[in-house]
Subunit: 336 residues, 2 copies
Amino acid sequence: METRRYVLASRPTGRPTPDDFDLERVDLPDPGRGEVVVRTVYLSVDPYMRGRMRDRASYAEPWAVGEPLRGGVVGEVVDSHADAFDEGDVVTGNLQWADYAVAEASDLTGVDPDLAPISTALGVLGMPGRTAYFGVTEVLEPRPGDTVVVSGAAGAVGSVAGQLAAMAGAHVVGFAGSDEKVAFLDEIGYDAGINYEATDDYRTAIDEATGGAGVDRYFDNVGGPITDAVFGRLNVDARVGVCGQIALYNAEDRPVGPRKLSTLLESRATVEGFLYGDFAPRFADATRRLGRWVEAGDLQYRETVTEGLASAPEAFLGLFDGENVGKQLVRVGPEP
Amino acid sequence: METRRYVLASRPTGRPTPDDFDLERVDLPDPGRGEVVVRTVYLSVDPYMRGRMRDRASYAEPWAVGEPLRGGVVGEVVDSHADAFDEGDVVTGNLQWADYAVAEASDLTGVDPDLAPISTALGVLGMPGRTAYFGVTEVLEPRPGDTVVVSGAAGAVGSVAGQLAAMAGAHVVGFAGSDEKVAFLDEIGYDAGINYEATDDYRTAIDEATGGAGVDRYFDNVGGPITDAVFGRLNVDARVGVCGQIALYNAEDRPVGPRKLSTLLESRATVEGFLYGDFAPRFADATRRLGRWVEAGDLQYRETVTEGLASAPEAFLGLFDGENVGKQLVRVGPEP
């Protein structure tokens, strides 16, 4: 059985280009005992993957040139040699950017198609949704009346983070990169949205959006000048959760900016980096809660979907241009 | 009764110069009911005072041009119109840079000359010692076996912070600016000292001083390139306490440096600014503990003393050249 799959053709310098991705055809190995063959339905592309294209140890292992790319997949079991799954079952796991993959059943999780659309296992009910959940509930811990700012607010993580902060009684302000995205923020319950492409004066924009109340909690997906501005507006005992720094991921030279630690003396703020994987023991609990809110209509989500495996590089690159509203997915094959 | 006192002659741009300070002679007002006249014995100069010379609200109020400078003073009550103090008592408080000052008794604290040299009320048993105490015990909370790095390690705060971290069972590494200071670090119980004037490769120096163990806790008095290097060596769940950023206080332009928030994703570190004043309800407890350690010989301290009120600007300016080992004081008059 043959499959197409993407490999890393070359390590990108600066912003990746389509030439950094090669689509190759290979024969799928025969599944062994305990393994299944998964037909990819949805493939997730995520900003953190840029780090894996670098030749540098980080929290995620670097990919080798010539090796297959991997990411979150939702797919259908089309051949099972494992007790855990039958043919026709929908599963999710970290698999290759491919039409088909052979996987250990123990590396997969079942997806219930009756609970929610299966694509949500890669978004609001998957890694991005859980990242937002842990960032808000464990790192930021917003209190009623707090002003919470979210950067990358219309993205897969930010859109959930803002809604969770609003549930906690906060006044929530989001930074996003277009009027369309700001309208989406309004729709999902943000109190205010700032189109950062329409202004250079982020501090004044924050003052207007918060009514001068300053910032008590900041969920940072972006870094760079937006984050600089928020640091200039932190209230006493503010908390900053650093979830991502997408504005910097493609930088060729070491990014520089104003030194901001002095602002922490005035604000006595706490800045904390957090990683999704550290919360693994509580993934199931997070998914259960998120699922209930989605079912009840209390948690909105949106997906931006490109069609076909061959669109995966373009979908990935679009993340850095902010082309996605909500979760960016690639539909590789039809839903079962 | 006449006194000399320093006023802010002009707002410094960049590094202050002696011309920014004017020594004037004025008549002391007559002390009212509840007030005392204090003869200054020691005057403290501290890095945070640079912030008060700026025309910009911060955690300490800016000084107006033409107004007297103020700082920590230990002095002798020479005329008392208050029940709390008799003539001859030694007191400490935040007073003018002057030979004499009239003060409300309620703004002063008594100093026991039998407990320790009275100068220590401005150093190891005063604001700097307590700052170190709260930074280590409340912000960093080092555990036995942790690697703790202190910048500005030989200064009034850093020298105490390192010793407290060592008491907590940590392996303590200090950055200081001369071989003399590194020898002082060795003397007071630091496990390793790095003379940052003798190397540009701070990361390798950290690796050598920690045996490659990385950094679990960082007490930052300095900021700038030393702090950049430490951020590159933070272990998972490291904590950074931001106490001061003296390397940046004289910057004319907005200081820039590498953007470091991405390193917090890998380390999941927490960075927290803290301010001495926030711990006011526990000052007495901190002083009691520090006093016991000093008395028992478990806590060492050193003072660098210039002579005469007229040396105060020079003593203050020397802080930014790292001329002080331990606490920088000005002896304004003889001890009682």
